[in-house]
């Protein structure tokens, strides 16, 4: 019942939310990811962005705790970036969340991202549930609530 109430609260907020077409992309380690039918937490970032790098352990933690209730997809925005260096950065720091390299900026444009970091939470239909520049308490709370729905 508690789960149901939470889901109703969460998704009632989507009535006027912006909706995005599903994203399908290849990760740096050649996996295919799709936002279709999945609650998705997207993080847009770059290695030169100090705020982004500082938050990376939180992204890893969110990925580790998801337990199938949502998926984490990190999107490197590809601006002033190099695919190999991004891969090296992730490997060196032992980050294993799925990461898409947005080489031509199309994904960044698709989600109207004009700054890094940028956190976007989408429901199964691609509705934007939440967006923030930094990793906020509110975002952490929304992720925790999703984890509890399991």
């Amino acid at each position: 019942m508690r789960t149901l109430v939470w889901l109703m609260c969460l998704f009632s907020a989507t009535a006027h939310a912006k909706q995005y077409l599903p994203l399908q992309a290849q990760t740096l380690d050649a996996r295919t990811i799709s936002t279709q039918g999945k609650v998705t937490y997207l993080k847009f970032w770059a290695t030169w962005c100090a705020y982004c790098v500082e938050e990376m352990p939180l992204l890893q933690q969110s990925h580790n705790s998801a337990n199938g209730t949502y998926q984490v997809v990190s999107i490197n925005i590809g601006f002033n970036q190099n695919r190999d260096r991004v891969t090296h950065y992730l490997t060196k720091n032992k980050y294993n969340f799925p990461t898409v390299y947005d080489g031509n900026g199309a994904i960044t444009k698709h989600y109207s991202v004009l700054g890094t970091p940028q956190h976007i939470l989408l429901d199964e239909q691609g509705n934007e549930l939440y967006r923030s520049a930094l990793f906020t308490d509110e975002l952490a709370q929304k992720l925790r609530q999703l984890q509890e729905t399991n």
Binding site: Y51, F79, L134, D137
Partner: protein, 250 residues
């Protein structure tokens, strides 16, 4: 007669040169945040030059501040929604795009010259802006309210920061000696912290967190942000809204 001919040739050259130049547009994409650390070496102008800042992590105030500091970039504008970046498929800065009569003649990366590093942040001990020595123990026991803020305010990643700073100043009126504002060191220096102090008329103690150690210690990732500690130094409130009276024993 020769003089007349020479004048005519010169005028023709001038007209040809002008008309050629007027049809050539140069777009120079730079990233102002990089320019503070490494200067782009600008090649000879081949047409009407327009400096463009990609529409990433930017606002008009930051752009103006940059143009005021580096007047050669006074005509710099934001490439709104990165329209030209997408049009010319520019993904790196600095880059020059030369367009002649609507068609792209060249896209070339430009060189940068690093500036001498003057940031001695690594060795800086924590002090208030008024010079009082600080350490973690003092911060945990001498201050009840820690207000984590950013001297880049107002900026897109710090929503409602001006309003929050005003709220914190109001709080400080009631307990001026118990509040410490802590400034994020990213993309900022102590001078920008002092500017913040002036701009927002902060009358309580402030510190510039040179090594980001206070932000790390208190695990603050959101800005602006309050932490309230009790007299034993235990955190009794944390959040992005001002603490309530019962948190402060007022």
């Amino acid at each position: 007669m020769y003089i007349q001919l020479l004048k005519h040739v010169l005028l023709c050259l001038l007209v040809v040169s002008y008309s050629t130049k007027s049809k050539v547009q140069e777009y120079v994409f730079i990233n102002i945040w990089d320019e503070y650390n490494q200067t782009t070496i600008l090649p000879v102008e081949l047409g009407e030059r327009l400096f463009l800042q990609p529409d990433i992590n930017i606002d008009q105030a930051s752009l103006k501040q940059f143009a005021d500091r580096y007047p050669k970039y006074k005509n710099i504008t934001i490439d709104t929604h990165n329209q030209l970046m997408f049009k010319y498929q520019v993904r790196q800065t600095p880059t020059r795009v030369i367009v002649h009569e609507g068609s792209v003649k060249s896209i070339e990366p430009l060189l940068q010259k690093p500036k001498a590093i003057t940031n001695t942040a690594v060795n800086k001990a924590l002090r208030t802006l008024s010079g009082k020595r600080l350490d973690l123990n003092k911060i945990r026991h001498e201050y009840a309210v820690l207000f984590f803020s950013d001297s880049l305010c107002p900026f897109q990643h710090i929503p409602h920061c001006q309003q929050r700073i005003a709220q914190n100043n109001q709080l400080a009126e009631q307990m001026p000696d118990k509040i410490l504002t802590i400034i994020k060191p990213f993309y900022a220096d102590e001078t920008s912290a002092r500017n913040y102090q002036q701009r927002f008329q902060v009358n309580h103690q402030m510190t510039f967190d040179y090594q980001n150690q206070l932000f790390r210690y208190f695990e603050v990732s959101e800005l602006p942000y309050w932490i309230v500690q009790n007299s034993q130094g235990a955190v009794i409130y944390r959040g992005n809204t001002p603490p309530k009276k019962h948190h402060l024993s007022l």
